[in-house]
């Protein structure tokens, strides 16, 4: 990708390294992908599958003529934000403590290792026992699934903070609070953001899972309901909305990361 922005004699740059080359290939691929999808979609039962043309019509129905899609997205976003927000708070706090305090790490470690390996979705039935199948359950599943990667990555970050830097801070008479704020936290940031990136993926899984099993609402509910009504065109709209939401949230994480860590290249 770096080559794309470099300017040089055009003829020296291979076609595929030029912007126009990349877009030509992408366009060609898109024509093939969507063309095949359309052709195949026209040929099968419309209760089971939809070509892009019908998906676009369905999009107009649920997003332009009515606001069904937007309220589903809003509904999903609210419970996901609460759950993931709590996961960030708890995960970061606990992660820093566990990374900086040896004893705490040893004590909690067996459980954290287990949680790391466990496909956390398996905890969902427990949540049903604890809080039933209402709105709190939906937030709780997002929280439990996404807190693990945030916590583990923050902890990994807190552990790798350079001793030398901390010693320098102490030699200059820095208090614990100062060292935490000016040395430890910035050193943890890259790991924190990596945790956020993984966490957002988990939070989305928790969100969809909760909406398919606990409260049939939001985007997950949207997909379930239109599947039950044999409306694959609208299901595809829902799925594409989930793709769009995932990409947007990931983009936001990356953008925040770039803002808070201007020294990072990625």
């Amino acid at each position: 990708m770096r080559l794309l922005s470099e300017s040089g004699p055009r003829s020296d740059i291979p076609f595929l390294d030029r912007r126009v080359g990349v877009w030509a290939v992408r366009l060609g691929a898109a024509v093939v992908v969507f063309g095949l999808w359309e052709l195949y979609g026209q040929s099968v039962n419309r209760a089971l599958f939809s070509p892009p043309s019908r998906v676009i019509t369905a999009f107009f129905e649920v997003a332009i003529q009515t606001t069904v899609l937007w309220s589903a997205i809003g509904d999903s976003l609210i419970s996901m934000s609460i759950g993931f927000g709590l996961a960030i708070l708890v995960g970061t706090g606990a992660g820093i403590l566990m990374g900086r305090i040896r004893l705490l790490e040893y004590v909690v470690d067996p459980y954290v290792s287990f949680l790391y390996a466990l496909p956390t979705v398996a905890i969902l039935p427990l949540i049903v026992i604890w809080v039933g199948i209402g709105q709190p359950a939906r937030v709780l599943i997002v929280f439990i699934i996404s807190v693990v990667p945030v916590l583990l990555n923050t902890m990994a970050g807190a552990k790798q903070v350079s001793r030398d830097l901390v010693d320098v801070g102490r030699n200059y008479g820095g208090s614990d609070g100062q060292i935490l704020r000016t040395i430890v936290l910035p050193a943890i940031l890259p790991f924190f953001f990596a945790g956020l990136r993984l966490g957002i993926g988990s939070a989305l899984i928790g969100m969809i899972l909760g909406e398919m099993l606990l409260v049939i609402r939001g985007l997950g509910g949207f997909v379930v309901e239109y599947s039950n009504r044999f409306r694959p065109d609208k299901v595809f709209v829902g799925l594409l909305a989930i793709v769009g939401l995932s990409l947007t949230l990931r983009f936001l994480v990356q953008a925040t990361r770039r803002r808070l860590m201007p020294w990072s290249e990625v």
């Binding site: 691929a29 470690d109 039935p125 427990l126 026992i129 890259p190 790991f191 899984i205 099993l213 990931r250």
Partner: protein
């Protein structure tokens, strides 16, 4: 690398590196901690058995589950879908990952789709899959393939691209052919990443199959888990969660062992 900018792979190794250090950590604290938590769990659990059950009850739950004949078939059903789907995902994902790393046209053409699908929770397609393939073996198979194949492709591709440029240049200046370079430089050089891909793929596959069974399949471990929860058999729910957790640990550590065997020159993976 002046500032650590962890990728998924580095994180994976740093977390696992931590797990490896654990063996050097005071065993007495860990054992003490586990015993303490078990004791607390027993005391609190007895006060409110519905909530988390308690260890002695969970232990007897193991026996009950084994004898009532529901556990073994459920596990077997899940494993069949998981195994077959994972195999297909690897068979597609590894070659495609290498191909994308080595053939630029293919990379440019496919990357937007692979990256978008990788970033999206694939479990959302389950309701539609039910319409297409029903709720049996094929549902498990399809969701496992969909869950595992994209992380495998992405990680293999990134790994094969990361292969040290210096080695590539050496191969080139010694006039190694395309195939020779692939076999002697790219494949061994990206082996650690392939194993990371296999691990992440396995984890995603397990998530996929459990969710599919909970939402729609009429059999399997996920279904059993949810059925037990609906009748508040907390002890047995706990047993199955532990089985799933330990199975996952078993798979991950087996893959890590194979990794060390396959690339002994990199026994200590980087990162951490």
């Amino acid at each position: 690398m002046a500032i650590a900018t962890p990728t998924d792979e580095v994180l994976e190794t740093s977390i696992l590196g931590r797990a490896r250090n654990l063996r050097g950590s005071p065993r007495i604290i860990r054992v003490g901690s586990v015993l303490f938590v078990l004791a607390m769990w027993e005391v609190i659990g007895r006060a409110n058995p519905l909530f988390t059950s308690y260890p002695t009850e969970v232990a007897s739950g193991v026996l009950e589950l084994m004898t009532d004949g529901r556990l073994a078939p459920a596990l077997l059903t899940t494993l069949q879908g998981l195994g077959a789907g994972y195999f297909i995902a690897i068979a597609i994902g590894i070659p495609l990952g290498f191909a994308m790393a080595r053939i630029r046209t293919l990379d440019i053409a496919l990357n937007p789709y692979v990256a978008a699908l990788y970033a999206t929770p694939r479990i959302a397609i389950i309701p539609l899959l039910v319409l297409w393939v029903g709720v049996g073996f094929q549902l498990r198979l399809t969701i496992v393939v969909l869950s595992a194949v994209f992380p495998v492709i992405i990680n293999v591709r990134d790994g094969a691209k990361e292969v040290d440029r210096n080695y590539m240049d050496v191969a080139k200046s010694l006039a190694a052919g395309r195939w020779q370079t692939l076999r002697t430089v790219v494949l061994p050089g990206s082996l650690p990443y392939v194993f990371v891909a296999l691990r992440i793929g396995a984890q995603r596959a397990m998530i996929g199959v459990i969710v599919a069974e909970m939402t729609s399949a009429i059999a399997g471990t996920g279904r059993l888990l949810l059925d037990l929860a609906r009748v508040y058999q907390t002890d047995k729910v706990m047993v199955i969660i532990f089985i799933i957790g330990f199975f996952s640990i078993f798979v991950t550590s087996t893959l890590r062992m194979l990794q060390t065997k396959a690339s002994p020159w990199r026994a200590e993976s980087r990162g951490g």
